[in-house]
């Protein structure tokens, strides 16, 4: 029996010890009317070989496309050592480290992870972890609204150029909490104007940097403005960008209050968007409002250093209905990979990677803008991605480039529109992984397809 070790004699001895006639007898407390005939709509079990053949066939169908898609998920190089070590059975098949003494590996690793994330964001505290960047933003907003003692309005402003799928997920998750999300519109250059006015003081302000269009917001000014309104500031950041961009802990005069985002760029395969991990960092004073696991350093009976989950009174298994979140299982293994990734890159490696991505992005952007009819939708500095305005339907261009195995980018129309209207904007992402020949191939195919569509 696949994965079941019982021999006939095992079963007999066990039933004897139990004092039951057969296994069926162990289910005798289940009321008869519930035990239906076993359905057999499922096909019968495959051998490992058969299963692998089926999955291989499917995986190979989707393979072999050159990726210029981003929008929250990026095709970076992952050093081989990351997953070789993260996949060790002791990391992969352990539970959440409740029994601290038997989980020092995971616990010390999380402590190191927290240390790296606080360094990266220049924040005081990091959790480990929430599901992803999008749901993490929702958790951050709930946390901010809870934490802002002086403003109980539940009003939260967000910069318009927020990743629209982050906004959708957030809307789903916070929908029953009496929170009102209000958009701060962007200017024609794709970023917020600085001299914002709010009719009513917000409890929190959400700023994404780089924003959904790859554009860089005036984070210092917005942070100061938000703080002046008595709002807490939530930064949504791409951790890779922090190799070169100012960390949220240093935005404005006081830094943001909460920084969150998605860890995917840190050694996590794109894998259709998941699993990756969401991170939340905050100022010390909000540590008791942070959702998810937090590990603290402590000592054992002999005074040796050791690590344990701490501040568990925030969590559902202790605080139940009063917990800071319902999150339990989170994204531990991805945190493991991210930690190994960061330790392999170090600050210099991360910075180099970010710079190279930037260089590649600028290279492709400049070349594309030389094509006739192609315009810069949001002029100004970007990181990692940019938006073009096309003389043709972006969907059609993408479809034709897909035929040549190039993922050209994401057709968009404005920030949050997900409808079916004709879109003439294209969000293009370029990482350090793209080589010059690959980018030149993109340019080639792009201009051919453009020509085709324009005629």
């Amino acid at each position: 029996m696949p994965y079941i070790p019982h021999t006939r004699s095992d079963v007999e001895l066990m039933l004897e010890a139990i004092g039951a006639d057969d296994i069926e007898a162990l289910f005798d407390e289940i009321p008869g009317e519930l035990s239906e005939e076993r359905s057999s709509e499922l096909s019968s079990g495959l051998s490992e070989l058969e299963m692998m053949l089926r999955m291989q066939e499917r995986a190979s169908r989707d393979e072999g496309n050159l990726c210029f898609l981003g929008a929250g998920c990026y095709d970076h190089h992952i050093p081989a050592a990351v997953w070789d070590v993260a996949s060790r059975g002791e990391f992969m098949t352990a539970y959440t480290p409740y029994q601290a003494e038997a989980s020092q590996g995971t616990l010390q690793l999380i402590y190191e992870y927290q240390s790296m994330m606080t360094q990266l964001t220049a924040m005081d505290v990091s959790n480990a972890s929430v599901y992803d960047g999008a749901s993490g933003l929702a958790e951050a907003i709930l946390m901010a609204v809870r934490s802002n003692k002086s403003n109980k309005s539940g009003k939260v402003l967000y910069a318009e150029a927020l990743n629209p799928v982050y906004l959708s997920a957030t809307n789903t998750i916070i929908s029953s909490q009496g929170i009102e999300l209000e958009r701060l519109p962007i200017e024609s250059n794709g970023v917020l104007a600085i001299n914002k006015k709010a009719d009513q003081a917000p409890a929190a302000v959400v700023i994404q940097q780089p924003n959904f269009f790859g554009r860089l917001e005036q984070v210092d000014e917005i942070t100061n403005w938000a703080h002046s309104q008595g709002a807490l500031v939530i930064a949504v950041v791409n951790p890779m960008s922090l190799g070169v961009l100012k960390p949220p802990g240093l935005w404005g005069d006081d830094g943001v209050d909460i920084a969150c985002g998605d860890g995917q760029p840190l050694g996590i395969p794109m894998s259709s968007g998941g699993p990756s991990f969401g991170f939340i960092c905050c100022k010390s004073k909000f540590v008791r409002q942070i959702p998810g696991r937090v590990v603290g350093k402590t000592e054992d009976l002999d005074g040796r250093p050791g690590y344990a989950l701490t501040l568990q009174a925030r969590e559902q298994h202790i605080r139940r209905g009063k917990a800071t979140s319902n999150i339990c299982t989170n994204q531990g293994l991805l945190v493991t990979a991210g930690t190994i990734y960061l330790s392999l890159l170090g600050a210099k490696g991360l910075r180099e990677t970010a710079i190279k991505s930037h260089q590649n992005t600028n290279y492709l952007r400049e070349k594309l803008l030389q094509l006739s009819g192609v315009e810069d939708a949001y002029p100004g500095p970007v990181f990692n991605e940019f938006v073009l305005r096309l003389p043709v339907d972006a969907n059609e261009l993408v479809a034709l480039m897909t035929e040549q195995n190039i993922l050209a980018g994401l057709p968009i129309e404005g920030a949050a529109d997900e409808g079916g209207v004709v879109r003439n904007k294209l969000l293009v992402a370029v990482t350090e992984k793209r080589t010059v020949p690959e980018m030149d191939r993109y340019l080639d195919v792009f201009s051919n397809v453009l020509g085709e569509l324009s005629t």
């Binding site: 019982h6 190979s60 998920c73 060790r88 959440t96 990266l120 029953s176 990677t353």
Partner: protein, 495 residues
Amino acid sequence: MKFEEHKTIFDRGAPERRAFAQRVDDTSDDLLADIPDGLLRVELPRLPEVSELQAVRHYTNLSKKNFSIDSQFYPLGSCTMKYNPRAAHKAASLTGFLNRHPLAPENISQGFLECLYDLQEILKELTGMKGVSLAPMAGAQGEFAGVSMIRAYHEANGDHQRREIIVPSAAHGTNPATAVMCGYEVTEIAVGPDGDVDLDELKSKVGPQTAGLMMTNPSTCGVFERQISEIASTVHEAGGLLYYDGANLNAILGKIKPGTMGFDVLHMNLHKTFATPHGGGGPGAGPVGVSERLLPFLPIPIVDKKEKEGDVDEFSWRSGSETEQTIGKLSAFSGNSGILLRALSYALLLGDEGMARVGEYATLNANYLAAKLSQSGFQLAYPDRRATHEFIITFAQEAKEHDVSAMDIAKRLLDYGFHAPTTYFPLLVPECFLIEPTETEDKSELDGFVEAMKAIRKEMLEDPQVLRSAPHTLPVRRLDDVKAARELNLAWSPS
């Protein structure tokens, strides 16, 4: 004894040192010239500065400080720590899956979409529900999706006065926490001495304010709730919906279906029942299933199939009017896809007959272990009940007579090479172990566990201090949790 055993990765570093696993030539700060200075980072973050060997060695050695399914029996109740087939890991790690961008167009994503579709169908079949969404990223998010659908349902019916969710006192913490996240108040009902809920209390508390009831069955008491049909009709008659927390689905997999028990909505924990690795705290996947009336509210994305005559089927993301009433998205993309692929692989490997065996042998193992422990003098919390896939023993007496707690026994078990069962949950049983051996453990492993428990019992009688100060043979001895919380040290700083 071993040198440097306690160093963090930071302590191993030295300025300038690098691993070069990611090395990019010819990058210079000049390339950032187009970005205004004020937006740039001035000081580099203080990340580890280690060689690749140092990183590999450090994390290899850290991993060895973990207990895990691959290395130990890990009978953590409510967690279903069964063997995680390597084949499923391999299948999900195929480059075609790993390298797929979540926003890749549908026409070059048919392999992936077909996988999700197949999994949806398998889960529907196994649970007896009418629709499934794979979007939730863990059990708790599945609960959130489920309760949100309950809410959406009542609201769609103009039924706005329902503001309460009922949970049994034995419920997992995520249940009440979820209800609150969904804007509900939580009403607890007691569990009787036989482990079944107090039906009278339920009847007295249910009413027009009841949005629904959340429960597991088998319950977290490790027994099958026998009054389930009556509970269902009670809640349904009051206009409420019944939520099934699928954390314990392993117990009844292939035996009975939650749908048959009258549940309207449920989540599954694929990282439990479908053997995807726990990863030291995730990732998981918590798909939700619903009955007919909740179909419109399912979270997105969902995969649909268009059967094309004489041609291959075509798979696409559900959109348009069919998703008008959805509670929405729960994540940026389509949830924990990599876990879904593992779960599908597992389901394909087991097939119909394999699924049926899961519940049977999980139950056999639990009942055997319960019988042996009981025969060895340990106190079952529900001695007159059958164990399901798990069961509870209580050390209330030992605590009183020998001043030895469930925690002490748990820690001592670690010395014997066994991971401890879940302790102090459910809260209503004092000094308890919730023990779930799972179907993938063999008899000799269970016998070894019983021997260890007997040996510990002997130590308790002869030298209880050994237990109180356990563990003794692990990388650290008993850790000071109070110090951890009082003197918060949550990040490394140079010492």
